[in-house]
């Protein structure tokens, strides 16, 4: 039932994203227009995929660190991605894909560093175990350090274009094309499947690490897999669209309030809801102040926060 409703809303969202836009496309040309096929459709699909990926990454990380404030970007990935992007611009790395690739590399670099910091006990990869608290602290520290290097580069370098790297970092779907959609479609299913497969152990983890262990979950492995999968999803999202905060933080909470805490439900609903939120936000960003455009992260917060506050109120009153 809830899936039928969510799918209906999702389809309506995609349809609205296709029909609405700053350019007027005559109805007769609609099916042939490159504006629809090459710009609107890949953009709304990419926004949906990124929103869904961030929603699922948020679910995974919040379960992993057992902290409702966890956001996929809290673990240092935005700082790493920003550093990668600025380095790509500063070094004039050639090619149309240099910037997203460098951002991805930066995010993965930050992820590896935070992972190593969080891995305690035992030596090397074999015996270590992730400590969620250290992960959070390490993420914040690595993110802050990367951001400091980024800002230093921007203020010291003489390239005026470096300042524009921040514009990119604030997030948006201007770079959407069928190529980016294809990359996301090939890339995202594996980490999504890893998190989806961990639905039941994640439920157990909510009881605490020791009880989960007694109930048969391989907690050590679970934490490593979920952390890596969520981070790789976030790294791809940041490479496609910059740092769009808030989706990964709020969407899991919204889904928990509406449909309960079981991860078997939470993971798919978070994917669908995250996609809806980001696709709606991007459509509004393109159309609300046309011919100008708003940064999508602002719209996400503008529609997401009231929605979230309303649900929270309903929940605390009842």
């Amino acid at each position: 039932m809830k899936y039928a409703a969510l799918l209906g809303v999702a389809l309506a969202t995609v349809a609205a994203g296709l029909l609405l836009g700053p350019a007027s496309v005559p109805a007769g040309e609609f099916l042939r227009s490159p504006i629809v096929w090459q710009l609107r459709l890949p953009r709304v699909v990419l926004a949906y995929l990124v929103g869904g990926a961030l929603g699922v990454a948020g679910v995974g990380l919040q379960a992993l660190v057992r902290n409702p404030l966890a956001d996929p970007f809290l673990l240092g990935l935005s700082g790493g991605a920003g550093l990668g992007a600025v380095v790509a611009i500063a070094l004039h790395l050639p090619g149309p894909w240099a910037l997203p690739l460098a951002a991805f590399a930066g995010a993965v670099g930050a992820m590896v560093l935070v992972y190593r910091l969080g891995l305690i006990g035992g030596t090397g990869g074999a015996g270590g175990e992730l400590d969620p608290r250290i992960l959070l602290l390490g993420g914040v520290a690595v993110g802050a350090f990367a951001a400091a290097i980024t800002t230093a580069l921007v203020s010291l370098a003489e390239a005026a274009e470096l300042r524009n790297a921040f514009l990119w970092l604030w997030g948006g779907f201007s770079a959407a094309s069928w190529t980016t959609v294809l990359v996301m479609l090939v890339y995202a299913p594996l980490p999504l499947a890893v998190i989806a497969a961990a639905a039941r152990p994640l439920d157990l983890l909510a009881l605490g690490e020791e009880p989960a262990q007694y109930l048969g979950a391989d907690v050590r492995r679970l934490k490593q897999l979920v952390y890596l999968a969520a981070s790789l999803l976030t790294a791809a999202a940041v490479a496609m669209s910059g740092v769009i905060g808030f989706v990964g933080l709020i969407v899991p909470h919204v889904c928990r309030l509406l449909w309960g805490r079981l991860h078997r439900t939470l993971i798919p609903t978070s994917f669908l809801t995250g996609g809806i939120l980001l696709a709606v936000a991007d459509t509004l960003a393109r159309t609300a102040v046309a011919p100008r455009e708003l940064p999508v992260g602002i719209v996400t917060a503008l529609i997401g926060v009231p929605l979230f506050a309303f649900l929270l109120r309903q929940w605390t009153v009842s």
């Binding site: 490159p34 003489e158 514009l167 011919p291």
Partner: protein, 298 residues
């Protein structure tokens, strides 16, 4: 030599004033130069500025053009024209101004661009008793005004005024009938374009180019590629010192824009096009030539 001549001339002028209002017993306050700058501040110099720090490339160019370039003792990292400017000590990128580096040049006048970011710098320099003149320089029409004020502060009134007249007449020209449309792209992701409130919009109009985003009032704005594609400009203009197309030209989403697909790029060197400058007439000629000639007219 010439500077001496000016100074003796000035001395004579002041002596005249002194005798003219010599009936009073107090020394005339008008002994120095006072102008009101674009921030509404009264700027008073005891004598024409001889050690100037210019914190914007346009001001540096204006000072050289009015023959006061030899009085510059500091410039920004961006001030690269005329070539003689490169011999002036660099005081940093000016964003925001490095107050210590500026003060170390012991200037008797600092020329500052009026912006919110520069306001604290003006206040700090004032506390150091360094005279500051704060000027607008966003539009073509600001050039003549800035030249006149700088001319008075440097006692190069005559050449500054004739320079200002040339630039005012360039700014006041009716726009040429537009032969082509264009979009100025400042950044590709997110796409930032130039709107009507900018120097480049006016420059394009003078050269016979219609900015397809003339309806956007602000100097620059973020738009979607879809809007650019729908407005279908003949040319995509980017400020670039390189001769190769920008890297976004190869991205599939940009190739929906006809001018990008056809490679109709105008690569405009930043030194000539990146800022309002006394060489505006040259910039207009150059842009017109590129719109109509080379680069393949559509």
């Amino acid at each position: 030599m010439r500077r001496w001549a000016h100074r003796t001339h000035l001395a004579g002028f002041l002596a005249c004033i002194a005798t003219a209002c010599g009936t009073g017993n107090r020394a005339p306050l008008s002994a120095g130069i006072t102008v009101t700058d674009d921030a509404g501040r009264a700027v008073t110099l005891a004598r024409p500025a001889r050690r100037i720090v210019s914190l914007l490339p346009s001001f540096t160019e204006l000072l050289f053009a009015m023959g006061a370039g030899d009085r510059l003792v500091g410039r920004t990292a961006w001030c690269d024209y005329p070539p003689a400017a490169l011999a002036v000590p660099n005081v940093g990128d000016g964003m925001p101004p490095n107050i210590e580096a500026v003060a170390a040049r012991r200037p008797d006048l600092v020329v500052l661009y009026r912006s919110a970011q520069n306001a604290p710098a003006a206040a700090q320099l004032e506390r150091l008793a360094i005279p500051v003149v704060v000027l607008d320089l966003n539009q073509l029409t600001d050039l003549g005004h800035a030249a006149r004020i700088l001319g008075r502060l440097t006692d190069r009134k005559q050449s500054a005024d004739s320079l200002a007249r040339v630039m005012d007449s360039a700014a006041a020209q009716p726009p040429a009938p537009s032969t082509h449309s264009l979009v100025f792209i400042v950044w590709d992701n997110p796409p930032i374009i130039i709107g009507a409130g900018s120097y480049l919009d006016r420059l394009a109009a003078l050269a016979g180019g219609r900015n397809v985003f003339h309806d956007i009032g602000s100097p620059s704005a973020q738009v979607s590629i879809e809007t650019i594609a729908a407005r279908d400009p003949d040319f995509v203009a980017v400020l670039s010192d390189s001769a190769t197309q920008p890297s976004f030209a190869a991205r599939p989403e940009w190739r929906v824009v006809r001018a990008v697909r056809r490679g109709h790029f105008l690569l405009l060197p930043g030194q000539l096009f990146g800022r309002p400058s006394p060489r505006v007439a040259q910039a207009v000629r150059e842009l017109r030539r590129r719109l109509n000639g080379e680069g393949g007219a559509p």
